[in-house]
């Protein structure tokens, strides 16, 4: 269901290029054009919205009345009931959900620069 009252307005902190001390997690380039559609088809949970596209989950925040920005989230950050609904609607596969959930404790293969 499309809600015409909500409008996507990007937050530059989620757009490339990534800047130290300024950026958060970045929306992939392919999602820029789909952002309004992702938002329109998103699910409300509390004061946030959750959307999905290309096997990736997004979370939306209303920073001003009717104006929303979003960013990618890990699958564990999405309420399980919403994940289950998307699985049933075949908007995402179990493989995609589980792949992004597995914790990756990255080994320090390189020493920090200082």
């Amino acid at each position: 269901m499309i809600d015409s009252a909500i409008c996507y307005e990007p937050n530059p902190k989620h757009k490339e290029p990534w800047h130290h001390g300024r950026s958060g997690t970045l929306c992939p380039r392919w999602s820029w054009e789909q952002a309004q559609q992702i938002l329109d088809q998103s699910v409300v949970e509390g004061q946030q919205r959750y959307g999905v596209a290309e096997g990736m989950a997004f979370k939306g925040h209303e920073h001003m009345l009717g104006r929303w920005h979003g960013h990618p989230v890990a699958w564990n950050e999405v309420p399980p009931a919403i994940v289950n609904r998307w699985l049933q609607e075949r908007r995402v596969t179990r493989r995609e959900v589980k792949r992004l959930r597995f914790p990756e404790d990255l080994e320090l293969v390189l020493r920090p620069l200082r």
């Binding site: 307005e9 970045l26 989230v73 289950n84 992004l100 959930r101 404790d105 320090l108």
Partner: protein
């Protein structure tokens, strides 16, 4: 940056700076709350990260969501110990990710419910629940007995730059509650004051109101996070009103200004109880607890020398630590003696001045209870209804396990009241299990008895002989021999399978062709 606490112990550093994007794509309140923070535990900066070939020692993001989360989650962060399900993983973080792997993507109604419970728990205890798009460290915080457990790792974040990771090696640390709570209190006071001075926005006023309300919270509001069952809490209140004198102190939680600094022994006991504990068991356990405050209370001089509050090690596995503690104790007691075939655990416990008492509980998952304190007679309660305690070997293991708690899991005032069961803090239980195994099966005894074999113990009969000699269970002995490296994993599995097959054959459930 403003530093609250001591980075060598626990600290939170905060700073408010100008939003580099001048409020684009953000609410005014968010933009004005732009700043940076870092969290320190024993000189480890949990916010130090590397990305795009540079390191950064702080996280820069909107601070309002973080501050609001600290206020909303104050109760569970500092008081909630139990996880959504009973588990055997070490830290809260380990338990969470282990659960995610199992339940998510599973549409079974029970799995969905567990997934929902875990998600709600994550919202209360995970720093990333508040990130709103920022790159926050993968940090969890919760109460464990008289400590705050901080655990961290490096789960990937979608949308983080290539090669981005937090440099702190995954780990867990335990801090006395006051060490963490006082730092967070100071930080919240300062931050809410800074924001309200900057602007009269409703979001900032709401934050300041929330901080002020922390002073007005009743102890009962916090207690419900540690002992969620309302009937159990009511029973504790009833007992508190009935008892007098020294016994009454068993029911008094120690309150600081905005948190419960130390739980009373009666409270501690039910923190690890099953959520479905029946009132018969509640009354039985409280009766047993109050009995320990009668007569000559306190540790014997020998026990007093040995007992300590030993939080789980930050650098070693719990089972490793348990092994070492058992070896140290045996050496201190001069055991095993050259003529010993087995460790006489009852004699060890008696020598330390610890009482042993059977207590019949309806809950068959409770193996035992350890009670100790300056004003309590150190006591091990054994539930004969637990399947393990029906055999003497299992009962011996329970006694050794509870002995570990009495020696090393003391809290405030040297107090301890811990139920050993599926809801007990997993790391503490793992340490106690390893301790018990090594205490009952030290290398000297294992070597002594293995010398009677023709070769390595690779047959079920070999394990049976060793178990009988050391008065331990078959599978506990098998597991321990593998952990000691006397047999390898393949041998262990082969022996286990062979023993199971023999058991099925002898019971007639399987017949040969």
């Amino acid at each position: 940056m403003k530093c609250f606490g001591n980075p060598a112990i626990f600290a939170l550093k905060l700073d408010f700076i100008a939003d580099p994007d001048q409020g684009q794509g953000a609410s005014l309140a968010h933009s004005l709350s732009w700043g940076s923070f870092s969290i320190w535990s024993h000189e480890t900066n949990l916010c130090d990260y590397r990305a795009s070939n540079r390191t950064c020692d702080q996280v820069a993001w909107y601070l309002l969501p973080l501050l609001g989360w600290l206020v909303r989650s104050w109760g569970p962060l500092l008081h909630e110990e139990r996880l959504p399900v009973a588990g055997d993983s070490g830290s809260a973080r380990q338990a969470y990710w282990s659960a995610q792997h199992r339940v998510l993507g599973d549409n079974d109604p029970q799995a969905l419910k567990r997934a929902g419970d875990w998600h709600a728990w994550w919202m209360r205890h995970a720093l990333r629940a508040t990130r709103e798009g920022g790159i926050f460290p993968d940090v969890f915080m919760r109460r464990v007995q008289d400590y705050i457990e901080i655990s961290w790792g490096n789960q990937e974040l979608p949308g983080a730059p290539e090669g981005c990771f937090f440099t702190a090696h995954p780990g867990v640390r335990y801090h006395p509650v006051a060490e963490v709570a006082n730092v967070l209190c100071s930080a919240l006071d300062w931050a809410s004051s800074m924001l309200t001075e900057q602007s009269d926005l409703p979001e900032f006023r709401a934050l300041a109101d929330g901080v002020r309300r922390l002073d007005q919270c009743s102890s009962e509001e916090w207690l419900r996070w540690f002992v969620p069952g309302s009937e159990v809490r009511r029973a504790l209140q009833d007992w508190e009103q009935r008892v007098t004198g020294k016994v009454a102190t068993l029911f008094v939680d120690v309150r600081a200004e905005r948190y419960l600094a130390h739980y009373a022994p009666a409270t501690l006991m039910f923190g690890a109880a099953s959520p479905e504990i029946g009132m018969h068991d509640v009354e039985t356990l409280l009766q047993a607890l109050t009995t320990t405050s009668h007569g000559s209370a306190g540790d014997s001089s020998l026990l007093g020398e040995l007992a300590q509050a030993l939080p789980l090690s930050a650098t070693r596995e719990a089972y490793d630590e348990g092994y070492e503690l058992a070896i140290e104790l045996l050496e201190g007691l001069g055991l095993p003696q050259p003529a010993d075939a087995a460790v006489n655990i009852e004699e060890v416990i008696n020598r330390l001045g610890i009482a042993i008492q059977d207590v019949v509980l309806d809950d068959r998952t409770v193996r035992g209870v350890a009670i100790a304190g300056d004003d309590l007679t150190p006591t091990v309660l054994v539930n004969p209804r637990h399947p393990m305690n029906r055999a003497s070997s299992g009962r011996r293991f329970t006694l050794a396990h509870e002995l570990c708690h009495i020696l090393y899991d003391r809290g405030y005032g040297q107090r301890l009241a811990l139920i050993s069961g599926p809801w007990a803090p997993p790391g503490v239980e793992q340490r106690a299990n390893a301790f018990a195994a090594m205490l009952l099966m030290p290398c000297e005894l294992v070597n002594r008895h293995c010398a009677r074999l023709d070769g390595p113990p690779v047959r079920p009969d070999d394990i049976r002989m060793l178990a009988q000699a050391m008065q331990t269970g078959f599978y506990a002995t098998l597991e321990h021999l593998c952990n000691l490296g006397r047999i390898d994993q393949a041998d262990k599995e082969a022996i286990r399978t062979e023993a199971l097959n023999e058991s099925e054959l002898s019971s007639g459930s399987v017949t040969t062709a």
